[in-house]
């Protein structure tokens, strides 16, 4: 082989190798670049991981700091979150609770009737958001068999379905508040009972004295005794109201239902109040129904209390020479009693609060009022127990009309 042919071959070989080196160099450079990128991506991931875990820790910390028990369940009602307050309230450690069906650990009841999980934590197929159940004063039985009173709220979030999150239950322990409330009621009811005995004596002796001395007394003396008598009646009404409130609050108010002739009861109540109306120079009128009304099934004592309360209010808030009118109406299903006065009327802003406990209209009305802010609250409770409704229409300066309905129960009902 000639010499120059061999060197040409060598040159070709060298060139090829050079080309290959260049390719390799480029590949090495690319790999290096990719390595840097990968490194960067890795550290970014690491950072994200750290922040996610910090976030999760933060959430767990926040949840453990929440004083209300927070329990989250998945779409199968299995517990996925159980915070520290939940551990304390229920007596179960989170480690034992997580993954368990909620019904195995949490027993919620109201008046010793169990509320099923589907009721207090309904899992809806639609993407409903917000509070799906809320109830105050339900009972929870703890791991140690202890009964605690809680306010329960169950909420749902829109993304819940995607994240396999069925509901978030919050339980607020109200046991202590309940106990305090009980003590308060005990005290009120005890004090009221103790007041009844001397009041019975005052009322009794006064009535006997007035009865036996009617003809021997001068006009002014009669007026004095009348006022003492009215004040005693007010005091008795107040004590009775306090007792009724403690019954209402304890839900121990019971009805002794009878079929009664309601217009006849109204007549009697009005008759009893006539002396007082005259004393205050007020006209008290009952427009008797022209045709006979069907009998209603009510507790005559309780419903008389309602009428008495409404009439006493009307008499109290109507200035002399005014008029208080009572009439009946029927819409077929209900017997409606209206009590209209020509009194001062009730300010518009006070109307929505009128039937709440201890509410007293402030301002001008308050000065002359002798009420406790309990009468209308009790009236509402009693009327509602009978299945009726109570409402008011009033204009300041023009008087008020209070009305309540009582369902007419037919003989077969």
């Amino acid at each position: 082989m000639p010499k120059n042919v061999a060197s040409e071959e060598l040159i070709k070989e060298i060139k090829l190798l050079n080309d290959q080196k260049e390719t390799l160099d480029r590949s090495a450079k690319m790999l290096l670049e990719q390595d840097v990128e990968l490194h960067q991506a890795y550290s970014k991931l690491e950072e994200e991981k750290k922040s996610v875990s910090a976030e999760r820790n933060k959430l767990a910390l926040i949840l453990s700091g929440v004083t209300d028990a927070v329990i989250a369940v998945d779409l199968d009602h299995r517990i996925v979150t159980f915070n520290k307050a939940a551990e304390e309230l229920t007596g179960y450690p989170a480690s034992q609770a997580i993954g368990k069906p909620i019904s195995r650990l949490i027993k919620i009841s109201e008046k010793s009737k169990i509320i099923p999980k589907q009721t207090y934590c309904p899992i809806n197929t639609n993407t409903q958001e917000g509070i799906v159940f809320s109830k105050e004063g339900v009972q929870l039985i703890s791991a140690h068999g202890q009964k605690v009173f809680v306010n329960l709220v169950c909420g749902q979030i829109k993304e819940g379905r995607r994240a396999n999150l069925g509901g978030i239950i919050t339980l607020h322990d109200v046991t202590e508040e309940r106990q305090l409330e009980e003590m308060k009621l005990d005290f009120v009811s005890m004090a009221a009972h103790e007041l009844r005995t001397p009041l019975t004596a005052i009322r009794g002796y006064l009535s006997v004295f007035i009865e036996e001395n009617k003809n021997k007394l001068g006009e002014e003396q009669k007026m004095f005794l009348n006022r003492i008598s009215i004040s005693t009646e007010q005091l008795i009404a107040l004590v009775e109201n306090l007792l009724s409130v403690s019954h209402v609050e304890r839900s121990s108010l019971t009805l002794n239902v009878e079929r009664v002739n309601w217009p006849q009861i109204i007549k009697k109540v009005i008759n009893d109040l006539m002396i007082r109306a005259k004393e205050e120079q007020l006209k008290l009128i009952f427009t008797e129904p022209k045709k006979p009304f069907p009998k209603v099934e009510v507790d005559p004592l309780r419903i008389t209390e309602v009428l008495n309360n409404l009439l006493l209010n009307a008499l109290t808030y109507t200035p002399a020479k005014g008029k208080v009118q009572v009439w009946l109406e029927s819409d077929g299903n209900n017997l409606i009693t209206h009590i209209k006065d020509t009194g001062q009327g009730i300010p518009r802003e006070a109307l929505p609060h009128l039937f709440t406990k201890f509410f007293r209209v402030s301002g001008k009305l308050e000065q002359g009022s002798k009420g406790t802010g309990l009468g209308l609250y009790i009236a509402k409770a009693i009327v509602e127990m009978h299945g009726g409704k109570i409402w008011v229409e009033s204009k300041l300066g023009k008087g008020s009309t209070f009305s309540f309905s009582l369902p007419i129960k037919r003989a077969d009902g």
Binding site: H193, R196, T200, R203, G204, S207
Partner: protein, 125 residues
Amino acid sequence: MVKKKILLIEDETFIRELYIRSLTKEGFEVLAASEGKTGLKLAKVKPDLILLDIMLPKIHGLDVLKILKTQPETKEVPVMLLTNLGDESIIKETLRMGAVDYLVKVRLTPSQIVSRVAKFLKKLD
């Protein structure tokens, strides 16, 4: 006409004396006791009606009622409860135990009480 005999068992002196006066004025013969033990002893004379207070010292009115309703010599005597209790469960319990009626003292004047008593005794005749 023979006077109707009423036994009043009531511990509050003011109230007891007030009712004795009103009942006597209406023509009843009244026996009175301020606590259960004396009341039970007096009940053996078989009055026409017993007016029994619930909140009594020493022996509670409910226990007095129980004894009255089990003793052969008093079990037929009608008993009307005098009460100032708002607790309806106790009232219902006394009616179940055989009391004929109950009178809430604070809600009634003495003359209203006398008229309830007279009405009841008239119905018995």
